[in-house]
Every structure is written in C-alpha cells, then in structure tokens.
C-alpha cells in the first residue's frame, strides 16, 4: 500500500476515476486452451492485467525427496515477465513471487483432490505477462480455470478477487492508480459453491467496519466472476452456461 499523498481518487458523484461504481469489477475475459502443449491452460485478461496459466500432469513426482506416499504434490509457480511492469523486473529469484506461489499453491491444494494421485505431481505455471493491480487474484483465477481445463478433479473452483480502501472509501477490484494511493488491500480466494475461503491476505489499515464491507464486496463479486469462468470452460467444451 502506498498510502501517502492526498491524491483524489474518487469523483464527486461517488464514481471512480475510470468511471466504475465502488462495487464494480474491471472487464474480465477468459479463454481456455491457450497453451497447446500443456494438459490444460487459460488466459485471463482482467483490466490490463494479462495472465496465462498452464497445467502439466499428473506425472511421476521426482526427485523422490518431494514425492508423497499418500497424495499428489502441487508444484505451483507464479512469475512476472520482465516486461510486465513499467520498470523491468530482472529474471531470477524473487521473494515476492515465491511467497505468492506458495499461498496460491495452498489455495489450490484446498480444492484439488490430491489423494487420487499418490506419488504424483501436478505442475501449475502462472505467468503474469502484463500487470496492473491484483495480479495474484488474476493468476489464481487463471490457474483454477487451467486445472479445470486439464480435467483435474476439484471439489470446487477457486474464485479470487480483492477489495480495498481509497480516500476513506471501500472499493472493489482496485486498479493501478487506486492501488498506488490506497490505504488497504484485501485479496481473497473464495469457493463459489460453499462460500468458504481458501486464500486470504490483507495489508494496510482497515477498521472493523471497513473490513466487513470489503469482505462483503469480495463475496458478492465472486459469483459474477465464477459465471465468467464457467462460460469460458463451456465455450471450449460445449456445455451449457
């Protein structure tokens, strides 16, 4: 959270600089099957964010050190392309990416039926090709669709979205400027069928009341995003949406 400066991020009529209402999402487009050599894949365009996720496996888990007798290992990587942001990112080890990869893996492990594939590994690769704000949510959403495309059994899909606070007002799905000048960010990973959470982070400063409002915004938006995910899979597999 940048959180400093007095830049005004809201119009007088309560709308946002990009014209959205406080509880309105950016435009989201999802396409399935975009990495021909992978077992499953998805492209998510979310505002100017662009994420591509691919799934390989299940395959034999090696080295043996990482193999588990009783279940499958999810090997999840989150990476930002060097040209995905204004100031180029050097390739290589990156603590932020490692942490996001870990919490993304934890979220997906909560829905993938790992016990079906003992001693196996499923690789989930998330590449952020263009970044605006909320890339971890965009990446987790893309990974969830790619797993479905790969036919990996899951108890539910994971829908991910963030809310935050700017100029004292709670808003849904911050864009880059809002994120830069915002006071808080609350990204969540939600199971649309059960309403349970499998991913949760938060940074910044939220009073109990603001916190509840941001939470509720995310819960509401999850349904909307879930429909787009289902439609993208249906478009590929000809199911009804």
């Amino acid at each position: 959270m940048g959180g400093y400066g007095d830049v005004q991020m809201l119009n007088e009529d309560g709308t946002r600089m990009d014209g959205r209402r406080p509880d309105e999402l950016r435009k989201i487009e999802i396409e399935v099957g975009v990495v021909p050599v992978a077992d499953g894949s998805a492209r998510v365009q979310w505002g100017t964010n662009l994420a591509i996720a691919a799934v390989y496996g299940p395959m034999e888990a090696h080295p043996r050190k990482i193999s588990r007798q009783d279940r499958c290992v999810l090997d999840v990587r989150y990476n930002m392309a060097p040209f995905s942001v204004t100031d180029r990112i050097r390739p290589g080890f990156n603590r932020r990416s490692r942490e996001i990869g870990k919490v993304t893996a934890n979220a997906l492990e909560s829905v993938v039926q790992l016990e079906l594939y003992p001693r196996s590994k499923i690789r989930v690769e998330i590449e952020i090709m263009c970044a605006e704000a909320g890339t971890r949510c965009v990446g987790l959403t893309a990974a969830s669709v790619a797993l479905a495309d790969a036919g990996i059994p899951m108890t539910d899909m994971v829908v991910s979205v963030a809310s935050g606070k700017v100029n004292g007002v709670v808003i849904l799905d911050l864009n880059k400027e809002e994120d830069n000048y915002g006071d808080a960010d609350l990204p969540m990973g939600i199971l649309p069928n059960s309403g349970e959470l499998v991913f949760l982070q938060m940074d910044g400063d939220l009073s109990p009341e603001d916190f509840q409002e941001a939470w509720d915004y995310n819960m509401g938006a999850a349904k909307e995003i879930h429909e787009i995910m289902v439609a993208a899979l249906a478009a590929r597999y000809g199911g009804d949406d």
Binding site: M1, G3, K65, I66, R68, Q69, D70, F93, R95, R96, R98, E99, G101, K102, V103, N106, E109, S110, V111, L186, L191, S194, G195, E196, L197, V198, F199, L200, Q201, M202, D203, G204, D205, L206, S207, P208, F211, W215, M219
Partner: protein, 262 residues
C-alpha cells in the same frame, strides 16, 4: 524445510482430542503456552529480544545502517525484515537458500510492522536526498516447537520498542530511542482436529491444516492477514478467531508495556 511424513495416527489422535475439546498438551483451545520475554539480550544489536513460548525460542535483533534515500522518496528511510531459519532450529530445517517457509515468515512479520505504520519512515530521514536510517530486523530461530510466526512478531516489536539509533557511531548526532507510533501484535490460529486453536505447538502444526495470522494495531484496526497451508474455512470460523485475537492482543500489549526499559 524437509517435509516429514505425517502419520495418519497423529491426525486421528488430534481429531479425537478435538472432539473432547482437549489439546495434546492439556491447554484450552485459545490458551497460549508459557511465555518468557527477555529485553536486549544481545549486546551488539541496537535493540533485541528473546522470546520463549513453550519450547519455541527465537531472537530478534535490530541493526541500523545509513542509506541513500530512493530518488522518488528523498525524505524517507527504510525498513527491512529478514527471517533466517537456520538448521539449529530443528530436525527438519535444512541449510541452503531461504526456503518458502522462511520467506513467508519474514514477509508476514514484515507486513504486520510495515503496514501498521508504527515506524514513521519520514522520521528516519537524516538529510533529505542524502542520508536516512535503514532499520533492519533480523529474526533468528533457535528452537522450533511450533508457531514461529507469533514468536518472531513479538520478538520483533519488543526489539524495536527497545532500540536505540546509534547516531554517535555514525557521526550524525546523539543516540536516541527509536520512536514507535503504535504496537502491532500478531496472533495466529491453526486448524487442528477440525477447529481453530491458538498458538499451536510443533505436534499440532504437523497434524493440522490451515492457519491464519492476524496482526492488529492499537485501535482494533486490522493491519495484516495471511492464510497459510492447505484448507478451507468459513466466514463464521474467521469471525470467531478475529474476536479471540482482539482479546489476546490486549493481554500481550500489557506484557509488552511491562517490559519497557529506560
């Protein structure tokens, strides 16, 4: 960290205890382990603390360096938190480059402190555009019997509250205490045997599911959250532990204030 095999037996045992509302070491669901805090045990650090929670023992050490402010923030100093879980801390911690576990530990503790705004980075400026203080908090685990997160966060905030800016050594004025505007405190809850418990020990961590780390500031405001590990939880479960965290924070705050040195 190497991944130990979790015997199904342990998970079964923890579930049975949970059904009787018991814990493996006899504690109540929201009861912490015995807590010891030592202030400034490290003579070479500018601020330090040793925290023992049951058989978990950690140190935090604060050092200051002079940095050149970033060109887009010429009047600000910096803050860095680094957690190094060296293999002394337990059988499953291995040498080598930082593991994902230690990266997450360092970053979650860092965010709790950073996002609370307790350190005013503007006050760390010595000469705009030229010199500012960089605060470095190093977290060092000696014995890991579970819940390193809370132990590190508590050690870090105690070390910061008792740290002195070594201005004389760097020839930029007189030594003075580091000022903190608030006291962020982390409380962690781990789902063990199907329900969330506070301050899980090593055995509970091994046989448990997801955990949630909550950092709260002075005024009940939330500054940082993190859900770790595999598992799903409901809004009701979250509200329950958020309430517990608010209560526990007050107890820990009293402890921290009682330790103050002058």
């Amino acid at each position: 960290m190497s991944i130990p095999l979790v015997p199904g037996l342990l998970r079964d045992h923890l579930r049975e205890l949970s059904e009787r509302d018991e814990r493996v070491d006899g504690r109540g669901r929201l009861e912490g382990r015995p807590l010891e805090v030592e202030v400034n045990p490290i003579e070479r650090a500018e601020g330090s603390a040793r925290v023992r929670m049951g058989d978990t023992i950690v140190y935090a050490g604060v050092k200051f360096q002079i940095m050149t402010p970033y060109s887009d923030r010429p009047d600000q100093g910096g803050l860095m938190t680094s957690a190094e879980i060296r293999p002394i801390a337990g059988r499953n911690w291995e040498p080598g480059p930082p593991s994902e576990e230690s990266i997450e530990l360092g970053r979650v503790v860092d965010r709790g402190i950073r996002e609370s705004g307790c350190i005013d980075v503007n006050k760390l400026c010595i000469l705009p555009g030229e010199k500012a203080w960089q605060v470095i908090i190093d977290l060092h685990a000696i014995s890991d019997d579970g819940n390193l997160f809370d132990a590190f966060a508590l050690a870090a905030i105690v070390a910061l509250r008792n740290a002195t800016l070594p201005a004389e050594r760097f020839d930029v004025g007189e030594d003075e205490r580091l000022e903190l505007s608030c006291t962020p405190i982390m409380c962690s809850y781990h789902k063990v045997g199907g329900r969330f418990v506070y301050d899980a020990n090593g055995e509970e961590e091994l046989g448990g599911d997801e955990r949630i780390h909550i950092t709260l500031g002075d005024d009940g405001h939330v500054h940082s959250l993190q859900k770790g590990l595999r598992g799903a939880f409901t809004s009701e479960e979250f509200n329950d532990i958020m309430g517990a965290a608010r209560a526990r924070r007050e107890e820990l705050m009293q402890l921290v204030e009682s330790l103050e040195q002058d």
